[in-house]
């Protein structure tokens, strides 16, 4: 398997430029479910590497789409509460030639946002090594967005890419985690076959372009009043009562208040990758 991948990489390096370089690295992404929690949640994430760019995403949106399509076909009511949650809450696209990272948000209601970032990773490479998926990997450390990271990369796959926004090592990053192990990405498979893609979501959705700074500010406001827009809609249309699935009348003001309170509490405890 290892030899096949290396041969494949050599092949694409020396073959005609019209042949697209395309393969997938699957990472297990695990994180503490909340700040200061010992419980860990994990999810499959994928780094789809194309000729000129790469895309990093979680399988959750893809699974959610599949479940919803299947429910619709079967005439079943979609159970939104049972859909898989996206642990990342974003898609990351990297254009390594320009060292550009594009962040596409996937966590809001009315609008989604994108911002371009050019992170300057300062890597310290050590001689410490181990094996991951049969590749010899070397330890490197860096700091990013308030966390100290340890990464293991392999020069046997000479692609300067990695999970999430990480890149810039002389080989593919197969494992990376922060020192508190709040967030951990570990490669569990490399394949030439692209099983899932997120291209449709990125191309079909309208993302409002903003800067990272504005995005952070906007998110900060959002988590203080996550249902602000729904409150506005309720007040402007004066729909204060609504029947639930059982036909019972529900006081929407009370429900929205309770729900917003719950959401604020969730946001307070969330274990964000970027501090």
């Amino acid at each position: 398997m290892k030899n096949t991948i290396i041969l494949f990489i050599i092949f694409i390096c020396f073959s005609s430029p019209t042949i697209a370089q395309s393969f997938v690295i699957q990472y297990d992404y695990s994180k503490h479910v909340m700040k200061d929690s010992t419980r860990i949640v994990s999810q499959n994430t994928f780094l789809n590497i194309e000729e000129n760019y790469s895309t990093f995403f979680s399988e959750a949106p893809y699974l959610a789409d599949s479940i919803m399509t299947s429910d619709e076909k079967l005439g079943k009511k979609i159970n939104f509460k049972a859909l898989p949650a996206d642990l990342l809450g974003c898609y990351i696209r990297k254009k390594l030639s320009s060292k550009e990272v594009i962040y596409y948000s996937d966590e809001f209601d009315e609008h989604e946002y994108k911002y371009i970032e050019e992170p300057k990773f300062i890597w310290k490479i050590s001689t410490e090594n181990k094996e991951i998926l049969g590749y010899k990997v070397y330890l490197a450390t860096t700091k990013y967005a308030g966390r100290n990271y340890e990464a293991y990369f392999t020069s046997e796959i000479p692609i300067q890419d990695g999970p999430y926004k990480f890149f810039g090592l002389p080989g593919l990053i197969l494992e990376i985690y922060d020192e508190k192990k709040d967030h951990h990405f570990l490669a569990v498979g490399i394949s030439k076959e692209k099983k899932i893609t997120i291209e449709d979501r990125i191309s079909k959705r309208k993302y409002i372009e903003t800067s990272k700074q504005k995005f952070i500010e906007m998110r900060k406001n959002h988590i203080q009043a996550p249902l602000k827009r729904t409150f506005e809609l309720m007040n402007s249309t004066q729909i204060y009562e609504k029947k639930d699935a059982n036909g019972n009348m529900v006081d929407m003001r009370k429900l929205l208040n309770e729900m917003q309170k719950k959401m604020i509490e969730e946001y307070k405890k969330e274990n964000r990758i970027e501090l």
Binding site: L87, E107, L255
Partner: protein, 149 residues
């Protein structure tokens, strides 16, 4: 001829596995991410033996396999391990179960209220409704849906 060849191949593989010094005590279905090896010394009948212990590690540090190799090429001690393989395995399974559950109890991702509302409003394109009333009705339905009311 083909049958004979496969029979020969099977015998060859069997003989190799039988002759292997590495005594596989336990192996489960977890994908091995790496193998950790450590050489330990064990005293038995006033003789100290060097044992190479290999522990296959799955994702999240879970134990995927366990094998022992007697480095001193001593058949007596090797036979002792082979004869007590089941006992060792049963003790080991107890340790592994505890260690795996203590180390990291990975659970499936949880859906937050925010995720639920966001998924729902996007699916029904609530914010693309032609009227504000349509948008409000749609968004409030999603709130009801995610509140479980």
């Amino acid at each position: 001829m083909t049958k004979q060849f496969f029979l020969f191949l099977a015998l060859l593989v069997f003989s190799f596995s039988y002759c292997n010094d590495n005594i596989l005590i336990y192996k489960n279905d977890l994908k091995e991410v790496k193998i950790n090896t450590v050489v330990i010394q064990k005293k038995y009948n006033d003789k100290i033996y060097d044992l190479k212990i290999s522990v296959g590690e799955g994702f999240l540090g879970k134990v995927a396999s366990f094998s022992i190799e007697v480095l001193d090429n001593d058949s007596e001690f090797k036979n002792l391990i082979v004869n007590n393989r089941e006992k060792i395995k049963s003790n080991l399974l107890e340790i592994i179960t505890n260690s795996n559950s203590l180390q990291r109890s990975a659970i499936g991702p949880v859906l937050t209220v925010g995720n639920c509302v966001s998924n729902c409003t996007k699916t029904w394109q609530c914010y693309d409704q032609p009227t504000q009333t349509g948008t409000a009705l749609c968004a409030l339905d999603c709130v009801l849906e995610c509140a479980g009311a």
